[in-house]
Symmetry: C2
Subunit: 695 residues, 2 copies
C-alpha cells in the first residue's frame, strides 16, 4: 500500500519528538514565538526544549541559542515562528542541522500571491531534498495530548485543554480546528492529536490522517477538509483508516453551490465535484458529517462505545413520547427497530404491568415505583438477542440525585452483555458521565442525536464488513475506435465483457428491412454517424417498427432526414436493434475527475439524472459488492426494487455491469468519457442499449 | 373564529389563578400531593393556597380543609392529586364548589382500559356541565413562570427552573415535557408557560396553544404532539397563532412507519396520516422541527431575535472554513447568500487587506491586529442592504477574556441597524450570552445550528407574509352522479369551473370514429363503465389513434375486450378525446381525512406519486397563493419549472385548478374521494384528462 519511504518512520519524529526547538522564541508569552515555548514549558512536555533567538542568551528562563545549528543536542522538531522574510532561511538552517520535522507558523506565502507561492515552492524543495517533514506554513501547528506537547500558538489552549482520549483531529483550517478543539474540551471529549495543516507545502491532510491510522493511541479520526490536491494520497490515507478499521469522520465543505463559491474564494485549491468526493467517501467507508457537531458526536460515540454488530436498535425509554421520537429518528436514519421477543415482553410486563414492550420499551413513570426496574428491564432488552445497540432515554435523571443508580444499572448491563452497545440520552451530571463512559457508554443530551450517532456507527460498521474495492483489479484496456459511432462503441464494450444489445450495422434501408425481418418482433432503426450527437433531434431514430417493410421505409426516411439536417456529417449507414422492455432505464457514465482520475457514475434514466441529479459516483476500479452499495444509494432505488407491474430488477446483473465498466475505466487511460444511456435493467440481466465513447 | 364561549375567559382562571387548592395535599414534600404544595409555598406564588385533606388540620404549615367546599375563599384552580378511585368525586366537589379550573394528576383512566375510559368520560361530562376546565387526568400539570406558579409534581423543578422568558411550551407527554423543561433550564432558555395535557379529557393541546396565542407574555410557542382527536380545534389554534404572528414550532412524532407503530402502541388516539399533518402545518405556517433540540433552537432564536425581513443571510467569520461550512448550510436550508456590494467590499479591504469580502465576509485571523475591526466590518456588512440577517462566527472568542469586546460590537451593530437580525456562533461565557441576548442577539455554539435557526425564522416570516387560506371560501357543492363514469366525472368537474379535456361520449364504435374525425389529429378512445376501474389493464384504452377509421376500429376492439374481460360490467359506450401533450403529468386528489375532513393532494404523475411518495397535502379550502406554495413543496418541482425541451409549466393555472378543487371539496360533504390523474400541466394552462369521483 505504501511506497518505500513509509510515512510512519518520517512522521513519528514530527508528532512524537524527543526534543523541540522554537525558532523565533520570545519572552513575551502572548507572541507567536512566545506562546509555543510557554505551552511547552508550562503544560508538562518532558522532552528537551531549545529556544532559538540570536538576540538573547535566555528566554522564558531557558538557555537560548542564536541558531538552530547551535542547539546542544539533536532536534526532532523545530517550530518556526519568524516573519515570512526569514522563514525560508530558517527552514534551510533546520535542514542543514539535521532537524527531522518542522512546524511553520509563519504566513505570507501561497495564500497571499505569486511571490509567496514561489517562496513556498522553495520550502517544498528544501523538505524533499533534505528529507525533513514540514507542516505548514501558515498553520496553527499541532497538539500531542498524551505527551503534553502543544506545538501551536492557538490561544484556545489557554482556556484549558481537552482530556486525553482516542480521537485524532486533522483540520485544513486552523481557526476551525481551534473551534473544534474548544468544543471538544467543553464537552469533555477526549483527543489524542490535534493537527492543522495550513498551506500543506509538504505534509498535508492526507498524510496526517494516514499517520493517525497507524498511531496506537488513536482509535477514531475526525477530519475537516476544504479540498484535495492529490487524490491518490488521499485515497491511500482513507484506505489506511479502513484497513486499520478506524472510523474516519469527515466534514468536507463546499457541498452546495454557495459553499463551493465560498470555498473557491477562500482556498486556492480546486474544489472538485462534490458528488465525486461523496462517492469516494462512501467507497472508503468515510462517514461524512454535515457539521462539526455531528463529527464530534459520532467520533465521541465511536471512541467510547466502539462499533455495533448491526443496525438493530432497542429503544428504552421512561417517556412514551420520546420513544416514538426515537423510533422516527431511527427509521429516518436507516436503523431497524425490531420487535422484542414475546418472552422478553412478558418478563417486562411482570415487572411493570403498564409498560410498552414491543420496542420502544416504555418503562413509563412507574419506573420509580418498582425497585430495580431499570436494571432488570434494560438487562432483559439487551439479552433479548434482537438488538445490536440499546439507547436509553432517562429524561433528566442524569442530573437528579437518584440518577447515579441508573448510571450504575446501565454500566452493569453494558458489562453483562458485551455484544450489545449501550448509549444513554439524558442531561448528565459530571459523575454520571464519568461512570457510564468508563463502562463504554456514551451520553447524549438529545435523544435524536443519540440515535443519529448510533446510525452512524452502524453504517461505519457495515462499511468495514464490506470487502470494499480492494479486491477489484483493472481490466484490459479499451481503445476508443477512431470516429467512434454507436455500433463501434457497443462492439468495443461487448468485446470487453459487457452485455450490449444484439444489433446489426447495415448500410442501406433495404438492408435495415432485411435485418428487421431477421430479428422478428419490433425494432429500432437509427442513423450511424460519428458526427451526429443527438440522433433523435434530427429524426435519426425511429422506434417500434414492425417487420421488413416498416423498417425499410423508416431507414429511408432516417437517411434522408440525416442528409438534410446534417449535410456535412459522415454517414455510416444504419443500426437496427430489437426493441427491449425492462424494469427501468439506467445511466452509467465514465469521467476523468481532476483529483481522482477515472470515476464511474450511476443513476436512473430520464429525469432522475438530468433534472433531479440523483446520481452516485465511485473511483474506478471497484468490485460488484461496491457496485451494489452504489446502486442502493440512488434516492429512487424503489423504482428498481419495487417497480410497478414488474418483478424487481436483477441488481446483481446491474452491479456486475458497473464493476466491469469500472475495471475497463481503470485500465484505459485513453478513455476520456463514456456514456451508456440507457442501460436497461431487466428482471434477469441488464443490457446496454446505447453508448457514446470519447477517446 | 371563536365560538361563543371564548377560551380566554375560561382559561385565564386555570393558567393565572388568584387562588390554588391542592386536593390530596400531603405533608411529605416528595409525594404527588406534597410536591405541588411545596412548590407553591417555596417558589414564591403570591396567591391564596388551600391544602385540602380530611385527615389533618394543617399541612406543610398551612391550615388545611377537609373538602374543597370548605375552602374559606373562592378557588380559581384546584390541583387533584388523589388516587383514581377518589378522583371523580373530587372533581364533582370542585364543580359544586364553583372552582374554575382543575389540574388532575391522578392516573388510571383512559390509558389503562375500558373502565378507566368510562370514568374519564364522566369527568368530561362534569367539566362540560359545570363549565369548569379540566387539565388531565394523568398529566404532570403546568407552570406559569411569571407568577411562580408550579402546578406540577414534576421533580425537575427541584433541580431549578428555567428563566422567565417569552416561550410557551405545550406537551402531550409529561415525561417529554419535563425533559424539554430541563434542557431549556440548562441552556438558559426563557419560558413563559410549561403545559402538559395528559389524557385531555377536556382541555387539550389545541386549546392550550390557542390560549398561549392570546397570552401577552408569550411570543413564541413550542408544541410536542403525538396525535389529534379534533382537527377543527387544532386548526383554530394554529390559525390563532398565525393571526397573532406568534411562531409555532411543533415536534410531532409518528413521522415514519416505525414511529407510527410506536405511537399506535403508546397512545390510544388515531395517529392519522403524517403527510396530512405535514400539509396542515405548512398551511398554517407551523414550523415542524425534527427534534426537541431543534424546537428549542428555533424558539430561542425567535424569542430573542424576532423574525427577519427575508431569506438573505450575511455570513461573517474569523475562519474561512467556517464561512464555507455556513454557506453550505445556508444554501441547503433554502437561504440566499448574496454577494456584498463592491463599495462595502472595498471598505472592508481597506480595513483588513487579506479579508474575503464577497460573503462570507472572512475577516481572517488579522482581526486581532486591527483595532475596532469587528465593530467596523460587521457594521459595514449589516448596512450593506443585501442581508436580512447576519450570522457571525467568532470561534471560541465568546469564552476568551477579549470576547466581551466582540459581544459589545455585535450588540451595537444590532442596535445601529435594527432591520438586520444578528445571530452569533461561539462558545459563550455567561456574561457574553447575557450581553448579546439583552441586545436581541441569540447565541449558538454550533455554526450550522445557528444557520438552521435563521433559515427557520426566515421560513416562518415568509409564511406570515402569505395570505394563507383565510381568504378561501368553499365553492358550490358537487354531487357525485350515481354510477359515476369518467365522462360524468369530467362533466361534473367542468360544470364546477375546472378545465377538463374536450371529449365526446358516444355509444358505438362508428360514433367514436365520427367523433375522431370531428376532432381531427390524434385521439384516445376509452371504454365507459361505472364498473371498470383500471381501464388500461383490460384493453379498454387505445392511444394515438389517427382518423375516423382507426378510431372506429379501436372502438370496436375496446367494446369487445371489455365485454370479454368484464362480462357483468355495465357498459356505457365509449369516450373519445384528443391526445394532448404538456409539460408534465400531475395528479390531484381529494380525500376525507379522519381528523381534518376534506384534504387535497398534489403530486407529479407516474413514479413520483406511487413509488416515490412525493406528494403534498392541504386541508380544503385554500386559495391559489396557498396552492402555489403547495406545488413548490414537491421535491421534483424542477420537472415543472425546468422541464427538458419545453418552456416552464404554467404554475398559475395549476394553482388555480388546485384551489378550485379545494373549494369544491370543502363544499361537497358527499364527495368521498376524487382522483384526477393525469392533470396535464401546459405551458399555458392546465387540463384534467381523466377523473374518478367516489360519492
Amino acid at each position: 500500500m505504501r511506497d518505500e519511504a513509509t510515512p510512519r518512520s518520517d512522521l513519528d519524529a514530527v508528532f512524537r519528538p524527543r526534543s523541540v526547538a522554537v525558532i523565533g522564541a520570545s519572552d513575551t508569552e502572548t507572541k507567536i514565538g512566545g506562546t509555543p515555548l510557554y505551552y511547552l514549558r508550562s503544560r508538562g512536555y518532558a522532552g528537551q526544549i531549545y529556544p532559538i533567538n540570536p538576540k538573547a542568551p535566555e528566554i522564558q528562563g531557558l538557555p537560548a541559542y542564536p541558531n538552530i545549528k547551535d542547539a546542544p543536542g539533536p532536534v526532532d522538531l523545530a517550530i518556526i515562528a519568524v516573519p515570512a522574510s526569514l522563514a525560508v532561511q530558517a527552514l534551510q538552517d533546520c535542514a542543514d542541522a539535521g532537524v527531522k520535522g518542522v512546524v511553520m507558523f509563519s504566513s505570507g506565502f501561497a495564500e497571499v500571491g505569486e511571490d509567496g507561492s514561489a517562496q513556498q515552492a522553495r520550502m517544498t524543495e528544501i523538505a524533499r531534498q533534505s528529507g525533513l517533514r514540514l507542516m505548514g506554513p501558515n498553520c496553527l501547528g499541532f497538539m500531542n495530548i498524551e505527551d503534553k506537547l502543544f506545538a501551536t500558538f492557538a490561544p484556545v489552549v489557554n482556556m484549558g485543554v481537552a482530556p486525553k482520549g482516542r480521537i485524532g483531529l486533522v483540520s485544513q483550517s486552523g481557526a476551525f480546528g481551534g473551534f473544534a478543539f474548544s468544543v471538544a474540551r467543553e464537552r469533555g471529549i477526549g483527543l489524542s492529536y490535534w493537527i492543522t495543516t495550513g498551506n500543506e507545502a509538504d505534509l498535508g491532510f492526507s498524510e496526517s490522517v494516514e499517520w493517525l491510522a497507524s498511531d496506537p493511541g488513536t482509535d477514531v479520526i475526525v477530519g475537516y477538509m476544504e479540498g484535495c490536491r492529490d487524490g491518490d494520497t488521499l485515497r491511500r490515507a482513507l484506505a489506511a483508516c479502513r484497513a486499520a478499521k478506524k472510523p474516519l469522520i469527515v466534514c468536507k465543505v463546499g457541498k452546495t453551490e454557495a459553499g463551493a463559491k465560498a470555498a473557491a474564494s477562500h482556498t486556492a485549491a480546486l474544489a472538485g465535484e462534490d458528488a465525486v468526493f461523496d462517492g469516494i467517501f462512501r467507497q472508503y467507508n468515510v462517514y461524512r458529517a454535515s457539521s462539526i457537531e455531528e463529527c464530534l458526536d459520532v467520533a465521541y460515540a465511536a471512541s467510547i462505545a466502539g462499533l455495533p454488530k448491526g443496525p438493530r436498535i432497542g429503544l428504552y425509554t421512561v417517556s412514551g413520547g420520546a420513544g416514538v421520537l426515537m423510533a422516527d429518528m431511527a427509521e429516518a436514519c436507516g436503523l431497524v427497530v425490531p420487535e422484542l421477543t414475546r418472552a422478553t415482553q412478558d418478563k417486562v410486563l411482570e415487572l411493570v404491568p403498564f409498560a410498552g414492550t414491543r420496542n420502544p420499551l416504555d418503562i413509563t413513570g412507574q419506573v420509580t415505583q418498582v425497585p430495580g426496574a431499570v436494571r432488570k428491564s434494560l438487562g432483559y432488552m439487551a439479552q433479548d438477542g434482537t438488538c445490536d445497540t440499546v439507547v436509553s432515554f432517562i429524561s433528566a435523571s442524569g442530573l437528579a440525585p437518584g440518577g447515579m443508580q441508573s448510571a450504575q444499572d446501565i454500566a452493569e448491563v453494558r458489562t453483562e452483555v458485551p455484544d450489545v452497545l449501550q448509549v444513554v440520552s439524558t442531561l448528565p451530571s459530571p459523575a454520571f458521565r464519568e461512570l457510564v463512559e468508563a463502562a463504554g457508554v456514551p451520553v447524549f443530551e438529545d435523544p435524536n442525536r443519540a440515535v443519529n450517532a448510533v446510525a452512524a456507527l452502524a453504517r461505519i460498521a457495515r462499511g468495514f464488513a464490506r470487502t470494499g474495492s480492494d479486491s477489484a483489479t483493472a481490466g484490459s484496456p479499451l481503445t476508443v475506435p477512431a470516429n467512434c459511432t454507436e455500433p463501434a462503441a457497443l462492439a468495443a464494450l461487448g468485446e470487453h465483457g459487457l452485455p450490449v444489445v444484439a444489433f446489426r450495422h447495415v448500410q442501406t434501408a433495404a438492408e435495415a428491412g432485411q435485418a428487421a425481418s431477421e430479428f422478428g418482433g419490433k425494432v429500432v432503426v437509427k442513423i450511424v454517424s460519428p458526427d451526429i450527437g443527438h440522433k433523435s433531434d434530427i429524426g435519426g431514430v425511429e422506434l417500434n417498427l414492425s417487420g421488413q417493410a416498416e423498417a425499410e421505409a423508416a431507414g429511408a426516411r432516417i437517411l434522408a432526414a440525416a442528409r438534410k439536417a446534417a449535410p456535412d456529417a459522415r454517414i455510416d449507414g444504419l443500426m437496427v436493434a430489437p426493441m427491449q422492455k425492462g424494469v427501468a432505464e439506467c445511466v452509467i457514465g465514465v469521467q476523468r475527475d481532476p483529483t481522482f482520475g477515472p470515476v464511474v457514475m450511476f443513476g436512473l434514466g430520464g429525469v432522475h439524472v438530468e433534472a433531479l441529479r440523483d446520481v452516485v459516483f465511485r473511483a474506478a476500479p471497484f468490485d460488484a459488492d461496491e457496485a451494489m452499495a452504489m446502486i442502493h444509494e440512488v434516492r429512487a432505488i424503489r423504482l428498481l426494487t419495487h417497480p410497478r407491474g414488474s418483478a424487481p430488477a436483477d441488481l446483481d446483473a446491474l452491479a456486475a455491469v458497473l464493476a466491469q465498466v469500472s475495471r475497463i475505466a481503470a485500465a484505459s487511460p485513453d478513455l476520456v468519457s463514456a456514456d451508456m444511456n440507457p442501460v436497461l435493467s431487466l428482471t434477469d440481466g441488464a443490457v446496454i442499449l446505447d453508448a457514446l465513447l470519447i477517446g
